[in-house]
């Protein structure tokens, strides 16, 4: 079964690589390479004859594997990019744990292929979760630093998005009783609240996965993974899943009115914001991450405008050159030993890498006649076909992309000023033997990028039409003209800043909030990640303390209150009575002193009576009230103690209680009915 081979070969190769381990790394990398290469061949075969296969799972559920025309491009793209990435990874970083890295990369390819051939929502959800899981493992590869925390951040954000898939699966299954993609069109045309729920869930999941606003920042935390992982994750696998899902289900999604404006709005916002964020980054990887969000914003715009084919075309082109750029960034980081632009400018020392990276940068900037440019023009055309202003905004975003692409190239691989040449020279012979293999990887991707410029020929365009199976908006000349102008403007602006040595911080001092996605990460961290993690920790800490402190505390409280009452009574009531009596005595004495002569016997009598009365009052009242209050206090205390005695901590007595109560329950139920 060729479809199984498509998924099984990379999975198997990955597991074997992982098991073989670091000791026989040569074998491992050969196995991984062979696996991915085999996957490439199988993928081409699958893309040519589109087989379908069903797997009955029982219980009314079934797994469907089919190759939608729109999935053929990505099917081939994923192993192609992965091949280069694995070549690069086989010599990346310290050899410790490299087998795991290679294995995980290969497995990543397998699960992504599974996602691409998913023919129903159940299969898709499985693959979707697996992709998230594997990317988590890849990000947390260097598990000694803060990588695990970042991985958890990325994982939780994307998982939160996955909930959308579950919701929509529930909605569609409850309504139509089937999870087949083929049935979604009919389902959504049927209308109803379920349709809105379904589409909302899908869109939510897709936006989180492909890092649209406001979920973009998880890409930054994904940056703490090893560079090969980032290269694969940004270009073809993880992030691509969202855009692919939207493009795949576009006909079904388009049936509600709010999908189109939502997609276009979010896509445009992400594209523009991503450009700004990328324009001020001080690290190459983060710049590329921001640009990833922006580029996927283009694709979302294309889908929203109703041209899934365009989105897929841009997905393919972007996958190729983004992987190229990431790998070159990794080379730059390894060579300069720092992850910041400030220490790079390796133009002199790494000429080949610089040249190859330039290809990718040009493609990212959208300079004809490269493939990236063509697909971007297609996006512009699609947007303008929707509305001129949208097209203009896309062109603006294109200006931004031109700016940051140039910025990346100049800062990372520009030539140094004379006084820094010495530094460059001694960095030139870097001991790491990385460049040879990374160069092969870069070569591969650069050739692919250049090969894509065939799209400018009518032949290439119809090939692309055949592959993506969508139709393209006719590109008008003025659109092309202004977007060229915009590209030139962006690139030129970057050059200008470069000449003034202000490119590193284009807008004066580094704008921390912008370069950190306008502080959204803080928001998500506070809003989503921290609660989840706190919940986990809390659940871990939850123990009998919480459970059994209850009754004891109640009884203690009861005793305390009763004691308080008693004391209060002593203080207030008694004191009151005493004071009354004292007052009475005082007045009587005053009266007595006031008049001795007049019949003082009576007065003394009065005084004595008053004193006696007050004493009587004092004694009896005190005793009465006191006893009452004390009694009530003692009662509550006793009750507390009694209720506390149930909590004997003796399991068998608990069992006895359980048995008795359940018997009573059964009795009640029987009598009830």
């Amino acid at each position: 079964m060729i479809l199984f081979a498509l998924v099984g070969v990379p999975l198997l190769a990955g597991l074997v690589t992982w098991v073989v381990g670091d000791r026989r790394l040569g074998v491992g990398s050969i196995v991984a390479l062979g696996g991915v290469a085999g996957t490439l061949i199988v993928a081409i075969a699958v893309a040519l004859e589109q087989p379908t296969h069903g797997l009955d799972w029982g219980g009314g559920l079934s797994l469907t594997f089919e190759v939608d025309p729109i999935a053929r491009g990505p099917l081939v793209l994923v192993p192609l990019v992965a091949l280069a990435v694995v070549v690069y990874a086989s010599s990346y970083g310290e050899s410790l744990g490299r087998a795991r890295l290679l294995g995980l990369l290969s497995i990543f390819v397998g699960v992504m292929e599974l996602l691409l051939i998913a023919g129903d929502l159940l299969t898709l959800i499985m693959a979707w979760e697996l992709v998230g899981l594997v990317s988590w493992a890849l990000i947390a590869h260097h598990w000694r630093g803060n990588a695990p925390a970042d991985a958890a951040h990325a994982f939780i954000v994307t998982r939160a998005g996955d909930l959308g898939l579950f919701i929509s699966a529930g909605a569609v299954f409850a309504t139509s009783g089937s999870l087949q993609f083929s049935g979604f069109g009919a389902f959504t045309d049927g209308g109803g609240a379920a349709v809105h729920v379904f589409i909302g869930g899908i869109v939510f999941a897709a936006f989180t996965k492909s890092a649209q606003l406001p979920f973009s920042p998880w890409l930054f935390s994904a940056m703490s993974g090893p560079t090969p992982a980032s290269a694969l994750l940004h270009s073809a696998t993880m992030v691509a899943a969202g855009a692919y899902l939207l493009a795949r289900l576009q006909p079904a999604l388009d049936s509600v009115g709010w999908f189109e404006p939502l997609a276009i709005g979010v896509g445009l916002t992400t594209a523009l914001a991503g450009s700004v964020v990328a324009a001020v980054q001080s690290e190459p990887k983060k710049l590329l991450a921001a640009s990833t969000s922006a580029q996927y914003g283009f694709m979302v715009v294309a889908v929203g405008a109703g041209y899934p084919g365009v989105a897929i075309a841009h997905l393919i082109a972007h996958g190729v050159f983004k992987a190229l750029l990431f790998i070159s960034a990794g080379v730059a980081i390894d060579a300069s030993g720092s992850s910041r632009f400030a220490d790079m400018r390796l133009g002199r020392s790494h000429r080949t890498t610089a040249a190859l990276a330039a290809v990718g940068a040009l493609a990212l900037a959208g300079v004809p006649p490269l493939g990236g440019a063509w697909t971007k023009e297609a996006v512009v055309a699609a947007a303008a076909h929707e509305s001129v202003w949208i097209g203009v905004f896309v062109v603006l975003a294109g200006l931004g992309s031109a700016f940051y692409a140039t910025r990346f190239q100049l800062l990372a691989f520009g030539s140094r000023r004379v006084d820094e040449l010495a530094l460059a020279a001694d960095r030139a012979e870097d001991p790491t033997g990385l460049r040879n293999r990374s160069t092969t990887a870069l070569m591969l991707l650069a050739t692919a990028t250049i090969a894509l410029s065939l799209l400018w020929l009518p032949w290439g365009e119809e090939q692309l039409l055949k592959v993506t199976g969508g139709e393209f908006a006719a590109s008008k000349l003025w659109e092309f003209a202004i977007s060229i102008v915009a590209i030139v403007a962006g690139a030129g602006w970057a050059f200008l800043l470069w000449r003034r040595h202000r490119l590193l911080t284009p807008f004066g001092s580094p704008l921390s909030s912008i370069s950190d996605w306008f502080g959204i990460p803080a928001a998500t961290k506070v809003g989503l990640v921290d609660p989840v993690l706190a919940l986990a920790g809390w659940a871990a800490r939850l123990d009998d303390r919480v459970v059994d402190a209850g009754i004891g505390r109640i009884s203690d409280g009861a005793q305390a209150t009763s004691r308080l009452l008693a004391r209060g009574d002593d203080r207030i009531v008694d004191a009151g009575i005493g004071r009354v009596s004292g007052g009475a005595q005082a007045t009587s004495r005053l009266l007595a002193r006031g008049d001795d002569r007049i019949v003082d016997a009576g007065v003394r009598g009065t005084a004595r009576f008053a004193a006696w009365f007050s004493r009587m009052l004092d004694r009896f009242a005190e005793h009465g009230v006191d006893r009452a209050v004390d009694g009530s206090g003692r009662l509550t205390g006793a009750l507390g103690r009694q209720s506390r005695r149930i909590q004997s901590g003796q399991t068998h007595q608990y069992y006895a209680l359980i048995a008795a109560t359940s018997a009573a329950l059964v009795l009640v139920l029987v009598l009830w009915s």
Partner: protein, 101 residues
């Protein structure tokens, strides 16, 4: 042999199980009581399957589920007993009072 008699036997087994589970001191004996209850349950389920289910195989599946429950109960039970013994050096229910309020 009809449904009533089978259920009566099951009732006796369940009663014995309850008695044992409540009366025994050792964890292991307590688990034996639970096993005895499940024993009765299995008998009852099989009886229902045989006399009222018209031979619907799902009834047998239920019995298999019950067996799996027994196995799981035994495994987790023994693991817990071992862990409790490590933590508390106790093999009798009186030995642990950590739920004491």
């Amino acid at each position: 042999m009809n449904l009533m008699t089978v259920l009566l036997v099951a009732a006796a087994l369940i009663g014995v199980g309850v008695w044992g589970a409540l009366a025994q001191q050792t964890f292991v004996m307590l688990m034996m009581g639970i096993e005895m209850m499940l024993n009765g349950v299995i008998l009852a389920v099989a009886g229902f399957w045989a006399f009222t289910g018209a031979g619907l195989p799902k009834g047998q599946v239920l019995v298999i589920i019950t067996m799996a429950v027994m196995a799981i109960e035994l495994a987790i039970g023994f693991a817990l007993v071992t862990a409790v013994y490590r933590a508390r050096q106790a093999d009798m229910t009186e030995g642990i009072g950590s739920l004491k309020g």
